[in-house]
């Protein structure tokens, strides 16, 4: 793995802030006039705009399991992720585009390269062809193989037609170095639109509002659960599983769909396996949970961080510090996942403008007693 370093932007940010504080002290007053500030802000913005993207580290996950000695010998290995880019077309919002490119550059700069890259869903903001096509173009630049997962923002304009045409089936499984990987489509919703006579765009906009209570709860759904049961029936119970889902496969906070309605049924299918890890998107934050043998990790977004839910936060979650709104890409990023010999993973959050934060297998295995991530100093309100 490349050495993890803080971004150059953070340096710029800190230098500027230091300079302003110094000026304030030197002047002996608390108000120096708006004009001067604006000039400085404009300079700073200009400087930031022309700055090259600094490749960063991203999160790698390693999975290893001793059940199959031959395969286990190939572990640890690492894969990376990028998630929740929420692209608008470039003419409307260039910032989100730049941020996805930044993540792609991060991943491409990893040395050694990850075995593959998971894209965690919500590539588009409103499921528009212009958004999905733009996202596909940018993701093509990733050097490692890419595994795609769908999010609700990609889906609810045309119910996944374009996404499936571009990226293939929304749920599938594959095996890699002794691990059985499953990608789920976990953001199905019960029909709330037909009875209201909503247009596809109205439906999309409702689903795109995190706190929009007019939508239904996320669910994997019966058909896909049956597929999952059949798929897992072929896999020995000692084979480690790593499951990708856009929404967390547990119930955290219904109002924001930090939630999967049939989570218990999915967990029941995963429980017979000795070692299970779920990697999910949607929550845009450092999020950690363990239910029995199942370890859960959230992914960062490249577009914006979400606040922590006002209730339901798992005890094992060490919150990431509250992002500073003046530090524009703080709380966002990408990451790597290292799959250990056991088959469980170490999750590394590569947060832009901050030190990386690692949530290890050891931490979860010890129920939070060992290897605890650094404590938050700025919790959410």
């Amino acid at each position: 793995m490349i050495p993890l370093k803080w971004g150059k932007r953070r340096e710029t940010y800190l230098t500027e802030r230091e300079q302003w504080l110094k000026e304030l002290m030197d002047s002996g007053q608390t108000w120096q006039g708006r004009r001067k500030f604006l000039q400085m802000a404009a300079l700073a913005a200009g400087a930031a705009a022309v700055k090259e993207f600094v490749p960063h580290s991203f999160q790698l996950v390693e999975v290893v399991q001793a059940a199959e000695p031959a395969a286990a010998a190939e572990r640890p290995f690492t894969f990376a992720y990028i998630s929740d880019s929420h692209l608008y077309e470039k003419t409307l919002n260039e910032r989100f585009v730049r941020q996805l490119i930044r993540a792609v550059n991060d991943i491409n700069a990893l040395d050694p390269q990850p075995d593959f890259v998971l894209y965690g869903g919500d590539l588009a903001q409103l499921g528009q062809p212009g958004e999905l096509n733009l996202g596909a173009e940018i993701l093509k630049e990733i050097k490692a193989p890419v595994k795609m997962m769908v999010g609700e923002h990609d889906w609810f304009l045309d119910m996944g037609d374009l996404w499936k045409a571009k990226f293939g089936p929304p749920y599938y499984s594959f095996d890699h170095k002794g691990i059985h990987f499953v990608t789920l489509m976990s953001v199905n919703e019960k029909d709330f639109w037909t009875s209201k006579g909503l247009t596809p765009m109205q439906r999309m906009q409702i689903v795109s509002g995190l706190d929009d209570g007019r939508q239904s709860a996320f669910e994997v759904g019966e058909e896909e659960r049956e597929w999952l049961a059949r798929d897992l029936a072929k896999v020995p119970k000692t084979t480690p599983l790593v499951v990708f889902s856009h929404s967390p496969l547990y119930k955290l906070y219904r109002n924001w769909n930090f939630w999967t309605d049939d989570a218990e049924e999915i967990q029941a299918l995963l429980r017979p396996f000795k070692t299970v890890t779920v990697i999910h998107g949607h929550t845009h934050q450092v999020l950690t949970n363990r239910i029995g043998n199942i370890h859960f990790h959230g992914m960062l977004s490249t577009a914006w961080p979400w606040p922590y839910a006002p209730q339901g936060l798992p005890k094992l979650t060490v919150q990431m510090n509250r992002p500073d709104p003046f530090n524009q890409t703080e709380g966002m990023g990408d990451g790597t996942i290292t799959v250990n010999p056991s088959g469980h993973v170490d999750k590394e959050y590569l947060m832009w403008n901050r030190n990386p934060l690692k949530v290890s297998e050891k931490y979860l295995d010890s129920n939070g007693n060992l290897d605890r991530p650094a404590k938050t100093t700025l919790p959410g309100y």
Partner: protein, 252 residues
């Protein structure tokens, strides 16, 4: 028609000095549910109806239905009616209206009007002191109407703020970024922590300063005046989400 609108009709029948009474029909004011609530402080274009015909020499008073009118004997346009005269004119106009309205509607109107007047007149917490009894509550001058008005108007402001908060276009964002995209249910807006010093703004920031910062930066819009109806509504919505949370000014 509810009590309130009927009462308005009654009130508007009372009088206006002049050749005619120009009154809006309250019913016409009620707009169909529009996707966007009008800013509470925005001006509303009130409907009008043509004046009742007169000879130009006598005072004509018109009822707010736009049809019923009355010529007041011995008074010229511009003359002012005394309160007693005005009440008499009003009563006569209403009598005319009731006489030509179908009995069921008329009876319902009278019934509701009575209830409404009673409710409006009754204080919220009447002393109800019986002779010799100890008063347990102090009386006040506020009626149910006051309380319901306060609630309705605040809700209207908060609802408008909610819409702006969730709608990038209404906010004036030029890049599709709305407030709720980072702050679902206004989470992490912590209005209770203002005022606080913010070095980037080089002064003590109020909630509105941070709202404007977000409008100008993440949302790439034009900042709002402190007294802009949208700013007021946004503040109302954000504050409403933190009801009951302890104030902690200066906290970062």
């Amino acid at each position: 028609m509810n009590h309130r609108t009927k009462r308005k009709i009654g009130v508007c029948a009372i009088l206006l000095a002049g050749a005619f009474v120009l009154l809006q029909t309250v019913r016409a004011q009620q707009q169909p549910q529009a996707p966007v609530v009008a800013a509470p402080t925005a001006k509303v274009q009130l409907p009008t109806h043509p004046p009742a015909p007169g000879d130009g020499k006598s005072l004509v008073v018109q009822l707010c239905d736009g049809e019923t009118s009355l010529t007041v004997a011995g008074m010229k346009p511009g003359d002012r009616l005394s309160p007693a005269q005005a009440q008499q004119v009003s009563d006569e106009l209403m009598a005319q209206w009731l006489a030509k309205t179908d009995p069921e509607t008329a009876a319902a109107w009278v019934r509701e009007e009575k209830t409404a007047r009673k409710a409006a007149a009754a204080p919220q917490k009447p002393a109800a002191a019986k002779a010799g009894a100890t008063q347990t509550e102090q009386p006040n001058d506020f009626s149910d109407r006051d309380f319901s008005t306060w609630k309705r108007e605040v809700e209207r402001e908060v609802t408008y703020g909610n819409q702006i908060f969730h709608d990038d276009k209404l906010l004036g964002s030029t890049n599709g970024v709305s407030c709720a995209m980072c702050h679902p249910n206004a989470a992490n807006t912590h209005p209770e922590t203002y005022p606080k010093f913010q070095i980037q703004l080089r002064r003590v920031a109020l909630l509105r300063d941070m709202i404007n910062w977000c409008i100008e930066n993440p949302s790439r819009g034009k900042k709002l005046d402190a007294d802009d109806p949208k700013m007021r509504a946004l503040e109302a919505y954000i504050m409403a989400q933190r009801k009951g949370v302890a104030m902690e000014y200066g906290k970062h």
